[in-house]
């Protein structure tokens, strides 16, 4: 039941924020914060239980809720959490709280409705991470789109209408292909066993031909790689990220993209191990293309927010590489990258939001020399830029190192090219620092330094990312047993042979 509460609290909190909102919006902000804090407390309390700790080491399900919902069609309200979901849930709540705080002064109109949307997105995302019934999963998958669409469309920047439509249509298209695959799987399982169900734990043992398995896998894959995004399917991302309000960008980069990664880990790999390994070489090539392409395009941007959006494409390439390189090391690296990228890129978006709030532009040509006026802001910017380029000591370094280590064993040439992405990351990150914080002072009035609220928020993010950088073990041990189980079901043979191609 605790899992249902995790989703219900933000849903109710969002409604309360909307209904109880008054002119100044203070009530909505505090209600949202309280709801998310309550959710976080529930998770921490749950996490600290001895039985949960024990289950974590075994890679078992920590909690489960299974109630019939539409029994006629074999649809259940099936929620469950394991180490993998736990990491994602914790990240969701952390970034959720951050995104409420970072919109504290940015959002001034329709505050109540804003927080309704914000909390409902988070509820949808939590649902995606907890659902173990494929219909329920699809339900949450679609549910989080609508409030995100409103968030971009109402509180976004200049080209928000175009960006929000593009975002919605791209992700919806992917989602519908997944729906077809879900239904195909449902009928394949139903005709094979006589049990028509959408339950993950039953569908995972579906027997199907290699041909069917490949096509069904492709539908799932499309939904997830549009979300992630992988290069030919990425055009929605720069627009959506750039035009969204800060909180929207944080959630998009930090969480929404991660639902794609989660889908790959939770559904594509375990449900279709053979089909997934047959397509792995192609995916790894696309991942590498994404890493290089995103980095190169990032370098070409003059809009600071767009630049960071493109770095997301590059970083998500590493996640894809890790997922399809298919060893425990690379999968752990991918989890690490998901968390580290969520926090560091989220922080960079917040910094851009802060700068835009102060000087009302995102154009880098009109920035420069912030260091003398706003040393705290600039120092924080430097830290996150360094984290983003993968400097040792930050979580991003650990993540990228593990991913490359894992994929080196599978595909040497691809790994070598992908490693080039690190060099490009260094270039664009230092380029940001150089142009924004150093250099000649732009003709602006003095830029205000960070306030107490902003400093504390960003400091918390630094602590998290630094902690994972020097002490990654706790995070890795949570998800590792699950990932180990996954590679065991995924690989019937030695990992070198199963990924083929490179030999």
């Amino acid at each position: 039941m605790i899992l249902a509460w995790l989703i219900i609290i933000p849903l109710v909190g969002g409604l309360a924020a909307w209904v109880l909102d008054r002119k100044d919006g203070g009530a909505a902000r505090w209600i949202s914060l309280a709801a998310l804090a309550l959710d976080a407390i529930v998770v921490i309390f749950f996490w600290s239980r001895p039985s949960v700790q024990l289950d974590l080491t075994r890679g078992a399900w920590l909690a489960e809720l299974n109630r019939p919902w539409i029994p006629q069609l074999g649809i259940d309200l099936h929620l469950a959490i394991d180490g993998l979901s736990l990491v994602f849930v914790a990240l969701t709540l952390f970034l959720g709280i951050i995104s409420v705080i970072c919109s504290w002064t940015e959002i001034r109109c329709r505050v109540g409705f804003f927080h309704l949307n914000l909390l409902w997105i988070l509820a949808g995302i939590l649902g995606v991470f907890l659902a173990l019934d494929l219909f329920l999963f699809y339900f949450f998958w679609e549910l989080m789109l609508v409030p995100m669409y409103f968030l971009i469309n109402i509180w976004g920047h200049e080209h928000r209408v175009y960006a929000s439509l593009k975002f919605f249509i791209f992700t919806q298209a992917g989602g519908l292909l997944m729906l077809l695959s879900i239904l195909a799987l449902y009928f394949v399982h139903g005709t094979g066993t006589g049990i028509y169900t959408f339950d993950y734990s039953l569908l995972i043992s579906t027997k199907m031909s290699a041909h069917a398995s490949f096509w069904i896998m492709l539908g799932f894959l499309m939904a997830f790689i549009v979300k992630l995004p992988v290069v030919p399917f990425h055009p929605w991302l720069p627009d959506a990220h750039t035009e969204a309000p800060t909180a929207g960008s944080v959630i998009l980069a930090g969480l929404l993209l991660k639902t794609g990664a989660y889908g790959l880990l939770r559904f594509v790999q375990p449900l279709f191990p053979d089909a997934a390994s047959s397509i792995a070489p192609i995916m790894m090539i696309l991942a590498t293309v994404g890493i290089i392409y995103g980095a190169v395009l990032a370098f070409g941007q003059s809009d600071l927010k767009r630049l960071i959006a493109y770095t997301s494409v590059s970083h998500m390439g590493f996640v894809l590489l890790g997922v399809f390189a298919n060893s425990t090391t690379s999968l752990s690296g991918a989890i690490m990258q998901i968390v580290a990228h969520g926090v560091s890129t989220g922080a960079l978006f917040i910094l851009v939001g802060m700068i835009q709030e102060r000087i009302h532009t995102r154009e880098m040509d009109r920035m420069g020399g912030f260091w003398s006026d706003a040393p705290r802001l600039s120092a924080l910017g430097l830290v996150f830029a360094l984290a983003s380029l993968g400097l040792p000591g930050f979580g991003n370094f650990v993540a990228e190192f593990m991913i490359l280590l894992g994929s080196y064993r599978a595909q040497i040439p691809i790994t070598i090219v992908a490693a080039g992405g690190l060099v490009l990351a260094a270039i664009y990150s230092l380029w940001i620092v150089q142009r924004v914080f150093h250099g000649e002072r732009a003709q602006y009035l003095r830029i205000m330094d960070t306030t107490m609220r902003e400093t504390i928020m960003l400091a918390a993010m630094i602590v998290v990312i630094f902690w994972f950088g020097v002490f990654p073990r706790p995070l890795l041990t949570i998800s590792e047993p699950v990932l180990k189980g996954m590679t065991m079901t995924t690989f019937h043979e030695h990992p070198l042979q199963s990924t083929g191609g490179g030999e």
Partner: protein
């Protein structure tokens, strides 16, 4: 005809009696409030009598009508739509000049026609139902006599509906000449024989498909739809979009399930082509529209294309999916046109995109309802449309109709674009508010609130509706 037959027929008798009563009352005492009250009371009694009548189901009353759970399910939907339309019309007509009372008489007759169609099991009742419906609609579409657009739409509808009735009649004649019977059951029995592949038989079926295609407004028989939708008064548009299509579709489904359409490849191919072109034409042309009523008209063309997928699909899931989708479609379409109705004033209907710009900040309540309806049409979770679309796709995938299912998927994406365009307009900044705020009538608010509640209820907890539908479908097969 004995007492049991009369009991089974009681909803039909109630509707017929109500229309006579309403007509007589108008003749002696012309009063809008009184007429509406009588009409709604008639609908309520008809719905109430369904409870008693359901005890004697299924029952064949004369060779013309088969009163079974299937018919009752659609009858329920039709009564819901009829009462919804009447309640919405009240405030709408209050804003207009001229005689208002006969409107309800026509709505009652149209409802009766639809109800007959849902239970028809014979060519005679089929044709009676169609004509009762069409003739009432001629009057309803052109009801606002001072509006040229309304009259134009009425004439257009009159000509095309008459032609389509002629097609149906000729098709019936051919089938009768070939098989020598007019009841659907005997027809189905004969059709499984050898003479089915004869040319007149197929031509007869083809002509009926054309006639029915006009009523359903599927491509290539859709040309009247946008003009009539645009010109007709908004509540009448709601009636055409829901009741008249739903009843004809219920009949088609029953007919095809009886004759077992899958044995005739040419007809299967024709329906596939009709479904695919309806989806594409409806959605692509909707992209080009700027008038909300026309957008909804084209959207309804594509939605009929979606439902046709269930006609092609086989198995028990197909008819259940159709019933579920139609329920969702009824509620959603009624709600969408209901919003247009309550926002309209005496001069014109609220059908331009400008009427909706910034609506959420002026009238958050109505805009919220409209958004919910549009999301349901687009198939977004928490709404009935989502489960409905899911059900239809499931039925299609279950019968391995990959072509239509993939086309349906592509069209859902195209459809999103224009539904979202209206939503975007509602959520954009209003600027300086030049248009005065329309006062929303209480009756309109109640109807919209009920529909929204149903929409979300079915979207979140569809299992009781599915249970009900399954009970009706089992009787049929």
């Amino acid at each position: 005809m004995n007492i049991v037959d009369l009991t089974a027929l009681s909803p039909y008798l109630t509707l017929a009696v109500t229309s006579v009563v309403v007509m007589l009352v108008i003749a002696f005492y012309r009063d809008h409030n009184c007429t509406v009250f009588l009409t709604l009371a008639g609908f309520a009694i008809a719905a109430g009598s369904m409870v008693f009548a359901s005890c004697v189901l299924p029952r064949e009353v004369t060779p013309l009508l088969i009163i079974d759970r299937y018919a009752f399910f659609y009858l329920g939907l039709i009564l819901l739509a009829g009462s919804g339309v009447s309640a919405l019309s009240y405030s709408y007509l209050e804003k207009h000049q001229g005689h208002r009372e006969e409107f309800y008489l026509l709505v009652l007759l149209a409802t009766l026609g639809c109800a007959v169609l849902a239970a028809a099991t014979h060519f005679a009742s089929f044709f009676l139902g169609i004509e009762l419906l069409s003739v009432s609609l001629y009057g309803l579409v052109a009801y606002l006599r001072h509006s040229t657009r309304s009259v134009e739409a009425g004439v257009k509808y009159l000509i095309l509906a008459a032609v389509s009735s002629a097609f149906i009649l000729f098709g019936m004649a051919l089938l009768y000449a070939e098989t020598g019977c007019m009841g659907f059951n005997e027809m189905a029995a004969r059709a499984s024989g050898t003479e089915v592949h004869s040319l007149p038989f197929l031509a007869g079926i083809g002509l009926i498909i054309i006639g029915v295609g006009f009523k359903l407004a599927v491509v290539p028989f859709h040309l009247w739809t946008p003009d009539v939708y645009e010109g007709a008064p908004a509540p009448v548009t709601a009636l055409i979009a829901t009741m008249s299509k739903g009843a004809v579709f219920a009949l088609v489904l029953r007919y095809f399930l009886k004759v077992n359409i899958h044995h005739y490849t040419p007809i299967g191919v024709i329906i596939t082509i009709v479904a695919v072109t309806s989806m594409f034409t409806g959605n692509l042309l909707a992209l080009l529209q700027t008038n909300v009523k026309r957008i909804l008209a084209y959207s309804s063309i594509s939605h009929l294309g979606y439902v046709l997928v269930t006609v092609l699909a086989s198995g028990p899931m197909a008819s259940a999916a159709a019933a579920f989708y139609l329920t969702a479609y009824f509620i959603t379409t009624l709600g969408a046109f209901g919003v247009v109705t309550v926002l309209s004033d005496g001069q014109r209907d609220a059908d331009s995109m400008e009427d909706y710009r910034g609506l959420i900040w002026k009238q958050p309540w109505v805009a919220g309802v409209f958004s919910a309806m549009l999301f349901s049409l687009a198939g977004i979770p928490l709404t009935a449309g989502f489960v409905g679309k899911f059900y239809v796709v499931a039925a299609g995938v279950g019968s391995e109709l990959w072509l239509v299912v993939v086309v349906l998927t592509i069209n859902s994406i195209i459809g999103l674009y224009y539904y979202l365009r209206i939503v975007v307009a509602m959520f954009s900044d209003a600027g300086d508010d030049v248009r005065r705020k329309t006062v929303i009538s209480r009756s309109g608010s109640i109807v919209l609130a009920t529909l929204t509640l149903l929409l979300v209820l079915i979207g979140v907890y569809p299992s009781s509706l599915i249970e009900l539908i399954k009970a009706t479908a089992q009787r049929l097969i």
